[in-house]
């Protein structure tokens, strides 16, 4: 009872900071590090680092085939991690969880295996304007291989998918809709369950890019109703090099494997093979053993805190950032306003452009104040084109970020703009000029 109450209480990031040794440092002399780049890759707690060290110091060997104690321990740890992921996302079976190298590898696996087997010339692949390159390029490649056509569900000017028009785009030629649960640039939280519902009714397979949602809010593939779902370990307090592809059992069973090699076979003959059962069928080669085990530790860590609390904490940080940053003259905040649409429309990141200077200069100057943000196109060039900008600056938040850090960002940003305001500077003329 007391525990349940504690778990319902607001998350206090100050109490978690000690778990993240990397955050307790100063940079550029005496500036406390303000890490606001977790959407690119999060930091990881001591519990996860310890799990990696423990694996390599005590329980490491190759999995599945060794007849010795270390291999058995490593296999147990690896398969336990799979069951943790299964619980984490609400999958029906552990063998619906495929360990991959990350979200990119997961999506490419679907494109190369399910895609090549099921998509043909003239078929339609439905995407959205807010996708990460990793949820665009594999489909462009599939379209190139098969002669399929890529279409885009429209998006409003402020960055909301026009889901009420989805019906127009789910034609009898549509084979697949691939879309992100949360935009890594706009911060928009998309209505995943509604899109999946309409797609399912139209007989269209859904691929959900959960790279930006799984670390920050509860994921339930049954409630979402998706067919495939992908996310990465390194954005979720876990190690890089491991990710997850979830697929419904019937789909995975009916799909040929993509990568060929060891582990994914049942029997190999002189000139042919028969594939292994799930999940090994999609896990050719030695998998990311220690990273997967540590991903299990990351899931334990996040679930002990509670994804709902993490999400609520990030929404509060976004509300604060939105209020502070909107007050800066010459700023344009990207994505839907949480003031106008409510807190649930956004996940824990805010991207923006200033009238001056450029995103890279902003990031450089913020870095000098100890504030780490992302600058560039965030692997969403088509979205940036649509927004009429070449680059933006993104501050992204996680469970360990504090309101004081949002203030540090806003204060530093106001200083940056002030520094670059036109001040009647004149270059020293060296040669004849206009």
């Amino acid at each position: 009872m007391r525990l349940a109450e504690a778990n319902n209480a607001a998350l206090l990031p100050e109490n978690l900071r000690d778990d993240f040794p990397i955050l307790a440092q100063t940079v550029h002399g005496d500036k406390p590090l303000v890490f606001l780049d977790s959407a690119a890759s999060s930091q990881r707690p001591r519990q996860v680092i310890d799990a990696i060290v423990h694996c390599y110091e005590h329980d490491y060997a190759n999995v599945h085939r060794g007849i010795h104690v270390l291999s058995e321990r490593a296999t147990d740890g690896y398969e336990l991690a799979r069951r943790k992921v299964k619980e984490f996302i609400g999958a029906e079976h552990a063998h619906e969880v495929i360990f991959t190298a990350g979200t990119t590898a997961s999506i490419n696996t679907v494109a190369r295996s399910w895609g090549d087997a099921n998509v043909g010339a003239g078929d339609e692949i439905l995407l959205t304007p807010m996708e990460h390159h990793s949820n665009l390029v594999p489909w462009f490649q599939l379209a190139e291989r098969t002669g399929a056509v890529v279409r885009h569900l429209p998006m409003t000017a402020e960055g909301l998918l026009e889901v009420d028009r989805l019906g127009e785009f789910l034609t009898d030629k549509t084979k697949l809709v691939a879309f992100t649960a949360v935009s890594n640039t706009l911060g928009t939280v998309n209505p995943v369950a509604e899109i999946c519902r309409q797609a399912r009714e139209a007989g269209v397979v859904t691929v959900v890019d959960a790279a930006q949602s799984a670390p920050h809010m509860a994921t339930d593939v049954q409630a979402l109703g998706c067919d495939f779902l992908a996310f990465s370990g390194h954005k979720l307090c876990g190690p890089s090099g491991v990710g997850v592809l979830y697929g419904r059992e019937a789909l995975l069973e009916a799909t040929p494997p993509f990568l060929g090699g060891g582990s994914m076979i049942n029997r190999v003959y002189d000139d042919r093979f028969t594939p292994a059962d799930l999940p090994a069928k999609f896990e050719a080669g030695t998998p990311p053993i220690a990273p997967a085990i540590a991903l299990g530790a990351a899931i334990d860590y996040l679930q002990a805190i509670g994804l709902e609390r993490i999400h609520a904490h990030e929404q509060a940080l976004v509300a604060q950032a939105w209020e502070r940053l909107s007050a800066i003259e010459g700023i344009r905040l990207l994505g839907p306003s949480p003031v106008e649409h409510g807190a649930d429309i956004r996940a824990g990141l805010v991207s923006f452009v200033l009238d001056r200077p450029h995103a890279h200069d902003i990031a450089q100057l913020l870095d000098n104040e100890g504030v780490a943000v992302r600058a560039g196109h965030h692997c969403t060039q088509p979205l940036h084109d649509r927004l009429g900008i070449t680059a933006s600056t993104r501050a992204s938040f996680y469970l360990y970020n504090t309101p004081a850090e949002i203030d540090a960002l806003a204060d530093a940003l106001a200083g940056v703009r002030e520094r670059f305001k036109p001040s009647g500077r004149k270059r020293r003329r060296r040669v004849e000029d206009f």
Partner: protein, 131 residues
């Protein structure tokens, strides 16, 4: 790590706010445009090249740049054109990446060197790209 003071020196901010020959160039004979795929910085350099038909070396008699991007990419374009305007094509080709970084001044991390060298790459293509 270079500090803010080193990267955004006064003479660089001067070039950013008051650039050398920024805008279109009437009567351009050569031009090239490129961008920095990482950050989206874009620079187009237009040249008026005296083609040496009257004897002597081919020479940049006028030049201008248009672009969009970070302070480093745009200020370095201004500094480069100021340096090379009036020079021969041979002199443009002899102007090395190292010369460009030296002209800019402050020490840059490898990522920001790409911003600084964008216009340098563009002008080397531009002298061989008649419009």
């Amino acid at each position: 790590m270079p500090s803010e003071e080193e990267i955004y020196q006064e003479h660089i901010l001067d070039h950013y706010e008051d650039p050398f020959h920024q805008g279109p160039l009437a009567g351009e004979t050569h031009a090239h445009e490129d961008k920095n795929p990482l950050c989206g910085d874009v620079v187009r350099i237009a040249l008026k090249v005296d083609d040496a038909s009257k004897g002597g070396a081919a020479k940049i008699v006028d030049c201008a740049f248009e672009g969009d991007g970070c302070v480093i990419s745009q200020a370095s374009a201004s500094m480069l054109l100021e340096e090379l305007c009036g020079k021969t094509v041979d002199e443009v080709e002899a102007f090395s990446a190292e010369d460009m970084l030296k002209l800019y001044g402050p020490r840059l991390t490898p990522n920001r060197q790409k911003c600084c060298l964008l216009s340098w790459r563009v002008i080397r293509q531009a002298v061989h790209s008649p419009v």
